[in-house]
């Protein structure tokens, strides 16, 4: 009974929307640049996914909390300032506590600032909703992004390096595919995954 009721709660629908029906990558096709670049290893995908999730959550909560004080003429600039502040926090945190991951992600951590997902959720959701729903929306969108990233990385890493999370999974003598380590390889895998997930989620662009 309770499970049935959960289906009709607002927070559940927000979560479902971020993960599935409005998934930032396979439905909205946002944040693809970093997704293609860093999804060549699972470790990078998890680190980037967590970074984007954190920035989306706190940016959305801040935008939601202060939405009545942000002048409409300055709202985009304000979002940028809020997002960049938290992105720099993530960048410095990784540099201080996870220097190897920071090195592996390179410039892409800083580029969370320009990730359309973060700005998109601030403008499309947080500015119109209370902070608790914005928090769930930020979390769901970030997790939706990370889910696809890890999915892609689970295919790319074994083919590109013969490993998953650094552990050898391919047989000895396996010839690694250099193309899977670079963005074009990610492009093909992501294309196939978007096709598969859209079919699964029944998310089609219908002709009018």
């Amino acid at each position: 009974m309770n499970l049935v009721r959960i289906k009709y709660t607002k927070w559940f629908n927000i979560f479902k929307s971020g993960m599935k029906t409005d998934n930032p990558i396979f439905v909205a096709a946002l944040g693809l640049c970093s997704a293609l670049a860093i999804s060549n290893t699972v470790e990078n995908a998890i680190a980037m996914g967590l970074g984007v999730t954190f920035v989306t959550i706190v940016s959305s909560v801040f935008v939601s909390l202060f939405r009545n004080y942000i002048p409409s003429k300055l709202r985009i600039v304000t979002y940028m300032v809020i997002i960049s502040t938290f992105t720099i926090f993530v960048q410095k945190f990784l540099q201080a506590y996870f220097p190897d991951i920071y090195s592996a992600l390179g410039a892409y951590v800083g580029l969370i600032i320009t990730n359309c997902i973060v700005m998109g959720r601030a403008e499309a959701f947080a500015v119109k909703n209370p902070w608790r729903y914005s928090l769930i929306d930020g979390f769901a969108t970030g997790m939706g992004y990370m889910f696809v990233l890890v999915f892609v990385a689970l295919i790319r890493e074994p083919l590109a390096f013969g490993t998953i999370l650094g552990y050898q999974v391919m047989p000895d003598g396996f010839t690694t595919w250099a193309s899977m380590a670079i963005a074009p390889g990610g492009f093909f895998i992501l294309g196939l995954i978007i096709w598969a997930l859209r079919t699964w989620a029944k998310s089609y662009d219908l002709e009018v």
Binding site: N40, L74, A96, A178, A181, I182
Partner: protein, 206 residues
């Protein structure tokens, strides 16, 4: 007028809060970031000189084994690290004008006391394309340099040439497959840094 004043006040307050946030972050993380950078540098130098150390003993071993020579090049402070046991000399490369294909490539190079023979080389920082130019930091590429001698009579004392080790000159290694621009940039970086440090080494009369 009142509306514009409100906008200006909002921007001022936003700027002030953000500035405090940045100062706070700097206070929170800068010490650890600097310690990480030093640890990576010390670890590379000690490893190049086959020193025995652990994470906890690294700073003590470094202090006892490595002599640091502080020098100045065109107003820029640079350091040369001399190992007391082997007399090998280590220095940071990639800190002058030349940079990688995408961004700076910084690393540590150790040479024997003849200032010609390469003992080892490690990359500390690079932002080249992952999977292509990014391979500049991998051991399989860097290990090619070990034991080679710089040709200090040539325009390029070390050559990063086409793949095919059979045809390589005595001071030549194979370039990174699919990353010709990074390979060329790396050759320029090594050339520039080598000649700067060689002049310094000779000028201090070692």
């Amino acid at each position: 007028m009142k509306q514009y004043m409100q906008l200006i006040i909002f921007v001022g307050v936003l700027g002030l809060i953000t500035s405090f946030a940045f100062v706070g972050m700097d206070l929170l993380f800068s010490e650890r970031i600097e310690a990480n950078e030093n640890a990576a540098l010390y670890s590379a130098i000690l490893s190049h000189n086959d020193a025995t150390f652990t994470q906890s003993s690294m700073f003590d071993v470094f202090t006892s084994e490595i002599e640091v020579e502080n020098l100045v090049v065109d107003g820029k402070d640079v350091k040369m690290y001399i190992d007391n046991k082997t007399n090998n000399i280590s220095f940071l490369f990639g800190i002058f004008d030349e940079s990688g294909y995408i961004n700076d490539i910084v690393g540590i190079l150790t040479v024997e006391e003849d200032f010609l023979t390469i003992v080892d080389i490690t990359i500390l920082q690079q932002e080249e394309t992952p999977g292509l130019g990014g391979k500049v930091a991998l051991r399989e590429f860097l290990d090619q340099f070990i034991g080679l001698k710089f040709d200090d009579t040539s325009e390029f004392p070390i050559i990063i040439g086409p793949i095919g080790s059979n045809d390589n000159a005595a001071n030549e290694v194979d370039q990174i497959a699919g990353a010709t621009n990074t390979s060329r940039a790396f050759q320029r970086i090594l050339t520039e840094s080598y000649y700067v440090y060689k002049d310094l080494w000779e000028s201090v009369g070692q």
